[in-house]
Symmetry: C2
Subunit: 229 residues, 2 copies
């Protein structure tokens, strides 16, 4: 069990708050980052209400990013670039940035069932280009629905496809993800594979609206053993 | 149960032969198309050996395409365009063409874990542009592994994401897919969604090589009821 907190940049959004709630429930300390420390603290108070006794606090994004080695970025794609610019002074070599953003066409007033092309190939690769030297990007958590995370009554049972160039880095992220019961982290390949994995979100959004559900992804045929040992 | 056979263009390839074996096992008649009638018949003989009593025959692709209303195209992407050109005279209005091709970079001596960009957005959309007027393309069966299909001892338990512009057409295809025990057809949206669904194959190929498995896809959270009623 990690003792240092997990910083979530954009922690007041639906995905960030959902993750925070689940980690808090699992006994993991979390720091919710927001543009304003006040809004971060308000979001943290909501998590503490959902999970009494949770070690969750709120801070300004830059301060939050300094609280742990593995920082999750859960902002909408529209704000990804701005947030990464703002984090340049906060992030330091050796840290991992877990990019959860998805380039939905909704970012440019298009549909959430379509995506936009990112020059670098994926939001994660854009993030890798923007973080300070020595900071490594891992891509994950695109397909886990925020409403399902936030609803502690909902039983999770799905996979999280993790992309990154080094297995060692992905393993560290996978260990945090798998602290949430019902989530299995699967090694989906190098960071460039985020081009594909990020696209699952608009497909799932389309399925969700058609079936009126919160669908997730699972890979069949994988071994039951620890994937990251 | 359909009484007319299912034509499979490229039926001598691994995916076509695997599908033929499973449908034959389910009692569905199949016609395997190939460039030469002889090679088609040889492939059919192999299926009849695997499934004694199976109603499977082999023909030249153009002849095969005339044997049923719902034609499956299971050729490598490298040959998709050539095959569709050759089928121009064989296909007729009202038929459905189920495109199973995936634009793997392997088609141009690249990696099977990467894809190439298709001008129309996806192999399926390219197919829609190339079929005769009145023929409708549905996209499916990209993520079901040929080795798993061919091995009748292997228990299937995965989803097939089906893309197409009309639910009526997708339903007809789904009914055929679901004749194979262990396959569930999921409505993944309009044909343009094939841009995303086709990309799942290189991702799964990457997972397969890493985990030494034949992985498939399953969506979690969908209702148990008939998706196509």
């Amino acid at each position: 069990m990690p003792t240092e907190p997990i910083p979530i940049i954009g922690g007041t959004g639906a995905l960030g708050a959902g993750l925070a709630t689940r980690w808090a429930k699992a006994g993991v300390p979390v720091v919710l980052g927001s543009r304003s420390a006040e809004r971060g603290e308000e979001a943290a108070a909501r998590v503490r209400e959902a999970v009494p006794g949770a070690e969750v606090s709120g801070m300004e994004n830059g301060d939050a990013a300094k609280q742990g080695q593995i920082v999750f970025l859960t902002v909408p794609f529209r704000s990804q670039s701005e947030n990464l610019n703002n984090l340049r002074e906060a992030l330091s070599p050796g840290q991992l940035l877990v990019d959860c953003t998805v380039p939905l066409a909704a970012a440019i007033s298009g549909k959430a069932t379509r995506s936009i092309g990112v020059w670098q190939g994926s939001a994660a690769q854009q993030a890798q280009e923007m973080v300070p030297e020595g900071v490594t990007v891992v891509s994950a958590l695109h397909t886990v629905g925020a409403p399902t995370l936030a609803d502690l009554e909902a039983e999770l049972g799905e996979d999280v496809l993790v992309c990154g160039d080094k297995k060692k880095d992905k393993t560290r992220v996978a260990r945090l993800i798998e602290l949430i019961p019902g989530l299995r982290a699967v090694n989906a390949g190098p960071l460039e594979m985020a081009r594909i994995v990020e696209q699952l979100t608009p497909m799932l959004i389309s399925v969700n609206s058609r079936y009126k559900v919160h669908a997730g992804i699972q890979l069949t045929g994988l071994p039951d053993s620890d994937h990251w040992a």
